[in-house]
Amino acid sequence: MQVRTLFFAAYRDALGTATLEVDLPEGSSVGELVTRLRSRGSPFDRLPESPAVAVNRSVVRGDARLSHGDEIAFLPPVAGG
């Protein structure tokens, strides 16, 4: 299956990209996606091991399962207001 990943702010700057399509085995979890990305090496290993992640605009835990077509956003610590 394929998911769409989004990177914001410091993560986007670190990776040099705001968005990436990623192929994953069916039933992968958020945590597995993070591990897979980090295993690509530099610059992806600059992502934290357990970043805050939103799936389809809701923040979820690392064990949340992904589905084909999900929008997965990597969210650095926020500083709005």
Binding site: L6, F8, A9, A10, D13, A52, A54, V55, N56, R57, S58, V59, V60, R61, A64, R65, A73, L75, P76, P77, V78, A79, G80, G81
Partner: protein
């Protein structure tokens, strides 16, 4: 202005905008003949942070999610005080010193509720809104402000979808 997505009826007016925020326009979104109190909070860009001189800020949002979160926060505040007169506008893009980054207007029959709701909205924004800010210093450097880690909502994703 979009309506908030969240638990309960959507009643609040919220927006993420790129242009400058007019406090009077945000104020005009609340109030009513039954209200005795109106409270307007403005967050403004300070010229210093942690002892460094700041030249300006760049705000970035995960916009599609941020508008939903703002609506949820505003609706939660509205539900707490039983008022539907809450408006929240957050600006993104490049802001100069003194410019307004966020405006929160609340009106209610009595003042205690207006203060409660206003404070709730700004505190929750700091915790939950997917917005980041890049501080641009007078010396030419820039850095993303260290923020707060977003927390997963309690319910599992399967239930939330």
């Amino acid at each position: 202005m979009s309506r908030g997505a969240g638990p309960g009826p959507a009643r609040s007016r919220v927006a993420i905008v790129r242009g400058s925020i007019d406090p009077g326009e945000v104020l005009a979104l609340v109030g009513g003949a039954g209200d005795g109190a109106v409270l307007l909070f403005l967050g403004t860009v300070r010229d210093h942070a942690d002892g460094r001189r700041v030249d300006g800020l760049r705000y970035e949002a995960y916009q599609e999610m941020a508008e939903g979160v703002l609506g949820t926060i505003a609706d939660e505040a509205a539900g707490q005080i039983g008022s539907d007169r809450i408006a929240v506008v957050h600006r993104i893009g490049d802001l100069a010193i003194g410019e307004v980054s966020v405006a929160i207007a609340v009106s209610s029959p009595h003042r205690a509720e207006a203060y409660q709701a206003s404070r709730y909205v700004i505190e929750e924004i700091k915790k939950r809104l997917p917005v980041w800010k890049l501080e641009q210093y007078v010396d030419g450097e820039a850095a993303w402000v260290a923020g707060r880690k977003l927390e997963a909502i309690a319910e599992p994703k399967e239930m939330a979808r």
